[in-house]
Amino acid sequence: MSLGNPVTGGAERCTLCSEPPVIRLLLPDRHLCAAHLIADVEERAAQTIHERELIKPHDRIAVAFSGGKDSTALIVILSRLLPAWEDVSLVAITVDEGIVGYRDDTIRAAEEVTKKLRIEHVCVSFKDIISDDLDTLLIGRETQACSVCGILRRKALSVSAHKAGATKVATGHNLDDEAQSVLMNTLRGDLPRLVRTSDADSHDCFIPRIKPLAGISEKEIAAYLFVQDMFPFLPECPYTRHALRLEVRTMLSAMEQKHPGTMHNLIKSKRAIEKYVDWRAISEPIRRCRECGDPCSGELCQVCMLRKSLGK
């Protein structure tokens, strides 16, 4: 147990040693010093990978690496766990959407990290995919920023991962992201998306996606990087204010603060529902896009639909 501060109830020592604490975690209630926080985060990521069999021998992992905190933590953790796996390699993929005043800084940060960790780094831009940057594509349709960006980012990542010979794509989605997605899909009434399994959830046509940080909160990730002088102080995406996710994030973090465990419970509900729902029975069968031949659920893939709506 932590030693309580007589005035505030706070702890003066780590629950596991005599060092000063850097974070208080609930469920179970404990205070951790920097070294124990780092060990705790890395052990839990390794446990997620092991329990869900996310990485297998000879995998080549494409890390979706924006240079932001979540993907930075992901690439640091994977690079440290790498020696434990047989013949597994990493390649970092950064997507440059073309957002003035935002992406240049994060790309620079991504380059510094991959250089330091000696990880192969590939950069792909929206201009390579759709001949324009996001800022130009969004003129007059700023409120659609996140959906347009998401479609093109997935495409850019998929194309680059294929080119790099990847067998898995790892993303830095954390516990908060996962809980937000459960709530957003529920609010939208999108059952197929709600029950689609999180790990390696793709059809044979796609490179499976893995989320090793799905059990770790955003706050733990930020603290994990801060205590190692790796927290990236970067600007916020200027389009975030248009996102439904922002509203859900604010609501959910307030709920988590008031009722600790809310986010875990949302994920638990999703997993319980997954057990009883046959995903294939409620989803459209995978077809091929009649324009580009990519796998999709309708006649056209989302990228080709977007191209048409943008007149591209």
């Binding site: 955003e218 930020a222 995406c237 988590e256």
Partner: protein
């Protein structure tokens, strides 16, 4: 005591000793959305602060 807010504006507060949680409450900042450093070192929000402490509140939730 100097408080550096997420938008980098600086607040000087005289009251001490005080718990970081109380400061965040007063500023209407949800502790789940920030990490807090005291004199450059990360500290839990139930830490007691005061005197010449320099407190930095760092927002962690970012889009993209």
């Amino acid at each position: 005591m100097k408080i550096i807010l997420p938008n980098t504006t600086i607040n000087i507060m005289q009251e001490d000793p005080v718990c970081i949680t109380s400061i965040l409450d007063k500023l209407h900042i949800n502790p789940s959305e920030v990490i807090v450093s005291r004199n450059g070192k990360l500290v839990p929000e139930d830490t007691l602060i005061g005197g010449d402490d320099e407190i930095r509140i760092i927002r962690i939730a970012h889009g993209g």
